[in-house]
């Protein structure tokens, strides 16, 4: 099975949704009383975060329908990149050089997965448990 480009784009949308959900959770956490269940239900950022997470899950399932797990799952790591960019530009957090290196490494890794999935070179392709 070949992975369709649309499936990869859907995972990237799921990444954006997950990242947005985490940002809403950050807003929610500021006014959450951990032991009070009512404070969860009346906490709008928390509810929005949940809905965003559920939408991300839905997008991911729809994407998996049209592609390989070994290609699509690694693309989920792009969430780390988005969260860091959001932290930097929305929350004005300082990002250390180490973290920028991490972000660049993840981006290179994801690109390699995408290149590798299109590789037709027989010498470097192998399978476990093939029929």
């Amino acid at each position: 099975m070949k992975t369709k480009l649309s499936a990869i784009l859907m995972v990237l949308v799921a990444d954006i949704l997950t990242c947005s959900a985490q940002i809403f959770y950050k807003f929610a956490a500021d006014r959450l009383v951990l032991t009070n269940i009512w404070s969860y239900l009346t906490n709008y950022p928390f509810i929005i975060g949940l809905i965003l997470y559920a939408s991300a899950g839905f997008m991911l399932i729809k994407a998996l329908e049209k592609g390989e797990v070994t290609v699509l799952y690694p693309f989920f790591a792009a969430t780390y990149v988005l969260v860091l960019l959001f932290s930097r530009f929305i929350f004005k957090e300082t990002i250390t050089p180490h973290k920028w290196i991490g972000v660049i490494a993840i981006m290179i890794g994801v690109t390699l997965i995408s290149i590798g999935s299109k590789s037709k070179h027989p010498a470097i392709e192998y399978e476990v448990g093939a029929e």
């Binding site: 797990v69 070994t70 250390t96 660049i104 993840i106 890794g109 997965i113 590798g116 470097i124």
Partner: protein, 116 residues
């Protein structure tokens, strides 16, 4: 803070569940229809979601028993487990470029988790 050995084991168990989850989600996705009745009857999908829940159940105590810089990279081995399970259970192909990509992502997560 010292990272306890049991926290690393919990994170590793969580990572294995996290790696197995997408395999079942994929099997469920192939016959997915957005209707409560179909979702409940979609056994692989329910298994996949259940595995993610299990992963979370193991991950949270792991975080309490260890440093983020150790626990996160251990949890990130899920990217390796996903590939191994996909090869075994879904007959997907891996190649040297894809493994290099996985290693680079892991390295990136180590750098981010190190948080220096």
């Amino acid at each position: 803070m010292i990272t306890h050995w049991w926290a690393i084991i919990l994170a590793l168990i969580s990572a294995v569940f996290c790696g197995l989850g997408p395999i079942y989600l994929k099997r469920g996705a192939d016959k997915f229809r957005l209707h409560p009745k179909h979702v409940i009857k979609n056994k692989p999908l329910i298994k996949g979601i259940g595995l993610y829940l299990l992963a979370t159940v193991f991950f949270i105590p792991a975080l309490t028993g260890g440093e983020m810089s150790v626990i996160y990279p251990v949890a990130a081995t899920a990217y390796i487990w996903v590939c191994i399970f996909s090869m075994l259970m879904l007959k997907e192909k891996m190649n040297i470029i894809k493994w290099t990509g996985i290693s680079t992502i892991l390295l990136g997560i180590v750098f981010i988790a190190a948080g220096i």
